[in-house]
Symmetry: C2
Subunit: 269 residues, 2 copies
């Protein structure tokens, strides 16, 4: 048993897709979330910069005495080295392996698509993880640089003509490839599930890395006997590097609860 909180970080609000599922699966766990809203987006920056930011995010969570760190950010996960878990001193997971496992378990055609930020696609992190699991799978990636700014600015409704046009452009390369499984390789993208599903149809399974990672964390904590001993609802605390106002509103809407009192601004680095 371990009553310390679970630590989760992301460049902005995208990692809340993991938090939502963690709350559902592990209602007694305390969760500390850090959203680097003062420096979002990560996915259009260079690897050196992303790595520096991810290390600072992790250091902040470790300073909060967490029992596990989750990089609930596709971009940060694609850049962090394999040795990063050792550096942490506590169990660590990114979103790549959990999502790759889920996609490999799902595909029937053996063709998996990956959409992500330019950095994630360039780093080929999902492709490497998938081929580690099943070398026979074909992986097709396409970067979607505008999806994060669109989500962070609230362009998520499937009837919005701008998001519809941008999504059609980004998904066009997958037509006729035989892809039956698409990894939404950035934790912001599940907020665009509606529009993506309308363009691709119901035959393509959409893999949500945030939700898959939450399941992975639940299994890991259970397996290592690190679950909380409490039977009362866990607490949520949120830290951000920009003003709390925007975050409280958007995150509260997404999690369907008022979190204003639980959000604090911090200075990193």
């Amino acid at each position: 048993m371990d009553d310390r909180p679970i630590g989760v970080f992301d460049s902005g609000i995208g990692g809340l897709t993991a938090v939502k599922e963690l709350i559902r699966l592990l209602p007694h766990e305390d969760i500390i979330y850090f959203g680097d809203t003062g420096r979002v987006p990560y996915g259009t920056r260079g690897n050196e910069t992303i790595l520096k930011y991810a290390r600072q995010d992790t250091d902040f969570l470790l300073s909060q005495n967490v029992k596990l760190v989750t990089a609930a950010c596709g971009t940060a996960s694609s850049v962090l080295p394999g040795s990063f878990a050792e550096e942490c001193g506590v169990p660590f997971t990114g979103v790549i392996v959990p999502a790759a496992q889920a996609a490999c378990a799902t595909t029937r055609t053996g063709v998996i698509g990956v959409i992500g930020t330019p950095a994630t696609i360039k780093n080929r992190a999902y492709g490497k993880a998938i081929r580690n699991i099943d070398p026979s799978v074909t992986v097709i990636g396409n970067p979607c640089p505008l999806f994060v700014p669109l989500v962070e600015n609230g362009y998520t409704e499937k009837d919005n003509p701008v998001i519809r046009m941008v999504a059609e452009e980004y998904l066009a390369p997958f037509a006729g490839t035989g892809m039956d499984t698409l990894i939404l390789g950035c934790t912001h993208y599940p907020l665009l599930k509606g529009v993506i599903r309308e363009i691709l149809g119901d035959e393509v399974t959409l893999v949500d890395p945030g939700a898959e990672t939450a399941r992975y964390v639940a299994n890991l904590l259970t397996g290592r006997r690190l679950l909380s001993s409490r039977h009362t609802p866990g607490t949520l605390r949120f830290y951000v590097s920009d003003s709390t106002e925007n975050f409280s509103e958007n995150a509260g809407r997404f999690l369907q609860r008022n979190i204003t009192e639980a959000v604090e601004r911090i200075e990193l680095g």
Copy 2:
């Protein structure tokens, strides 16, 4: 006479619209540019964060022994306090006053439009500057949160259907207002002049704050006898907070010269 370089900063590449005009007007001046590409965009963040970043950007330029600091960034300019010039210890200008002066000199109908980042529009900085010059002018502002990500990702061609649709949405509120002058209140926006002009027609004068600020700087240095004594072409140096690769390519294309050798990555803060 003062042979020290002119310092210019922006959140990313937008401030190059000022640099381009500075090179044309003052070909013998050395220019040092800092683009905070590791933290762009500024305009969707809170004032406290923007102010912190703008101060760090300025401190870096001052550490390079510049004779003048230009905040070639609408968002930073809208947040910096009136007392900032004193803090600098060298002449300082943002883009707000130069652009407001140009707009007031241009308008015949007395209705000036302003587009800018959410922070710039919320801070009403252009409106205040314009009313200081001419209280009878009507100012109409509209925020354009997606323009900076679109420009930073290369969506600038007027035939691009995405930028066209987003621009039509952002410019719709100005229809029927009698506006004859529009301030492109963020130094990224002049890269979208083509599409904006096509939507608004030739009757509306577009004011480019970067270019106006370059003229303002030229007048200021001339008036205070701070021009360089040299008669050889000035040098350009660029510093960025993210990888140099992307910046060199985009900035080089915009300035129509190869600047790869002149770009260096630095760590701020």
